[in-house]
């Protein structure tokens, strides 16, 4: 637990040999949703292709955000430290699909009409929160490199806590846009709630433990 090294991360346990090939495989796998969407649109299977692209890139952004948030609980659960080495890629793919989603809206839905876009962001709560989410993701994507990690030291971890509001805003964005049937956004919300609850419970447990360790005398008195 105690990390005497200057690195913000715990010392790397012996990384498995398959990590490199696994990363390459996941890198390609994460592009499959895009390839599938491109195929569906190119082959004329989507009656409303722009709506389809918007929804597809949007839900994949949320999916990759949830995958990113699943990595550290999964590591704790399995004890496989190398899982953390995959987290950056998941987060960057969330941003990648998020940027495609935003670009679809700005270009294919609004045709870069700045007035209409600005009005949407101010007037439509679901666009406000969605826009806020992608804006907040940007510094996380920029500072995802080893260099930035070293430069920001402890602040890197603090900054990257932004992923929690980003995920909440993303799910809210989906929830507020559906007309009536919230079953899909509810699914994302449930998974996010479980992932956030796990962190809260763990934090409370740690704080309680620290209190016990810090003040044994007062407890005894």
């Amino acid at each position: 637990m105690a990390a005497p090294t200057p690195s913000a991360r715990p010392p790397a346990p012996g990384l498995p040999r398959f990590l490199g090939p696994l990363k390459a495989l996941l890198f390609i796998a994460a592009l499959l949703p895009l390839a599938r969407a491109a195929w569906i649109v190119a082959s004329g299977q989507a009656v409303n292709p722009i709506e389809f692209i918007t929804h597809s890139t949007g839900t994949w952004t949320l999916t990759f955000l949830l995958i990113t948030l699943t990595v550290s609980p999964l590591k704790r659960l399995t004890g496989l430290g190398w899982l953390l080495k995959l987290r950056r890629m998941a987060g960057l793919y969330a941003y990648f699909y998020g940027v495609l989603h935003l670009a679809t809206y700005l270009w294919l839905d609004k045709f870069f009409e700045l007035h209409a876009i600005a009005r949407d962001i101010v007037k439509r709560p679901f666009i406000t929160v969605g826009f806020a989410a992608i804006v907040l993701m940007t510094p996380l994507a920029v500072t995802s490199t080893q260099g930035w990690m070293k430069r920001l030291k402890r602040n890197w971890g603090k900054l990257h806590k932004l992923v929690y509001p980003v995920a909440i805003l993303g799910v809210l964005h989906y929830w507020w846009l559906v007309k009536k049937d919230v079953s899909q956004p509810a699914l994302y919300a449930t998974i996010l709630a479980i992932l956030l609850a796990e962190r809260l419970i763990r934090r409370w447990a740690e704080q309680a433990k620290q209190r016990r360790l810090a003040t044994p005398a007062s407890k005894a008195a």
Partner: protein, 307 residues
């Protein structure tokens, strides 16, 4: 030319049931469904219909678009669900009861309804409240022709419509997404307007299940959800009837729901729309482009309040 049958064959000379059961067409329909491709109205027209001066000359959407992208929550909330899950639905035999403030309440079979008035092809714009639109060649007859048959009394001010309730054939009705059965309503003068029709066909054929078989309402100057599908009951009343989307969210869906580019949906703009098949969006027209014909119905009304 959509319909190859000569115009002198009246719908009354056709036995819809025979056509409905016609095995050759059944096979063709199956083949078309399997190919997922447009079933051209040309070769196997099942419904004869007169052309109408009320039709638009705009480019029509393909049968594939019209039958593959539907909001029909009785079969599921995804646009592809109605095409995928409406196969078990049985649109025959069918009856529609017309009652309430009328002198001659009556139940009509679908066969009687299809002979009630000469069938017409009405090529209308359809604007969905979600911001997309299509051009669809409906086949039907004026709603007024049916209402005249039952003779509304002086008390009748509104017309209430109700869809069929069949959770066993309509999987979407097993979820409480909306309060089933689906309900819609019109003011009597709106219902009597010549543009308002009951559609029984599409692209020269009987109405596919996913488009509201066997009979549905089309009110082209209103958002699409006003066009209630698979109708089983029409009731004339003196009070404004409850309507499904208004019950679900009164703040977002009003009783009138006339297409109006100046009155936004609380969550999105209604100023523009995407015509299915187009890359660029287009401006939405007042009353969906039917203002010349219908604006008079709403003279003196505040359309922001009566949205």
């Amino acid at each position: 030319m959509l319909i190859k049958r000569p115009d002198d064959i009246l719908p009354s000379e056709i036995t819809p049931q025979d056509l409905y059961l016609d095995r050759r067409r059944f096979l063709l329909l199956g083949a078309a469904g399997a190919a997922g491709l447009a079933l051209s109205g040309n070769a196997f027209a099942a419904l004869a219909a007169k052309k109408s001066l009320l039709s638009t000359g705009e480019r029509m959407n393909t049968l594939k678009e019209i039958t593959g992208y539907n909001n029909f929550y009785e079969f599921g909330t995804d646009k592809g669900d109605p095409a995928e899950y409406s196969g078990q639905f049985k649109p025959r035999p069918w009856a529609v009861t017309v009652d309430g403030d009328v002198l001659k309440p009556r139940t009509f079979s679908i066969e009687q309804l299809m002979k009630l008035a000469p069938l017409e092809e009405r090529i209308y714009r359809l604007r969905c409240v979600e911001g997309w639109s299509m051009v669809i060649p409906w086949i039907g007859f004026p709603l007024s022709a049916l209402l005249k048959q039952v003779e509304p009394t002086g008390k009748a001010k509104y017309v209430a419509f109700q869809s069929v309730l069949r959770p066993s054939e309509m999987p979407g009705q097993r979820d409480d997404v909306l309060a089933w059965p689906y309900r819609e309503g019109l003011r009597l003068d709106e219902a009597m307007h010549p543009l308002a029709i009951l559609a029984v066909g599409l692209y020269g054929n009987v109405l596919p299940n996913q488009n509201g078989a066997p009979i549905r309402l089309i009110v082209p100057w209103k958002y699409g959800f006003k066009g209630i599908k698979s109708i089983v009951r029409i009731t004339l009343t003196d009070k404004q009837p409850p309507t499904s989307w208004n019950l679900a969210n009164a703040h977002e869906y009003g009783f009138y729901s006339n297409v109006n580019p100046e009155v936004d949906h609380p969550r999105w703009s209604q100023a523009t729309e995407r015509r299915i098949g187009d890359f660029f969006k287009r401006k939405t027209l007042m009353f969906n482009g039917y203002a010349d014909q219908v604006a008079g119905l709403y003279r003196g009304m505040d359309l922001r309040k009566n949205f």
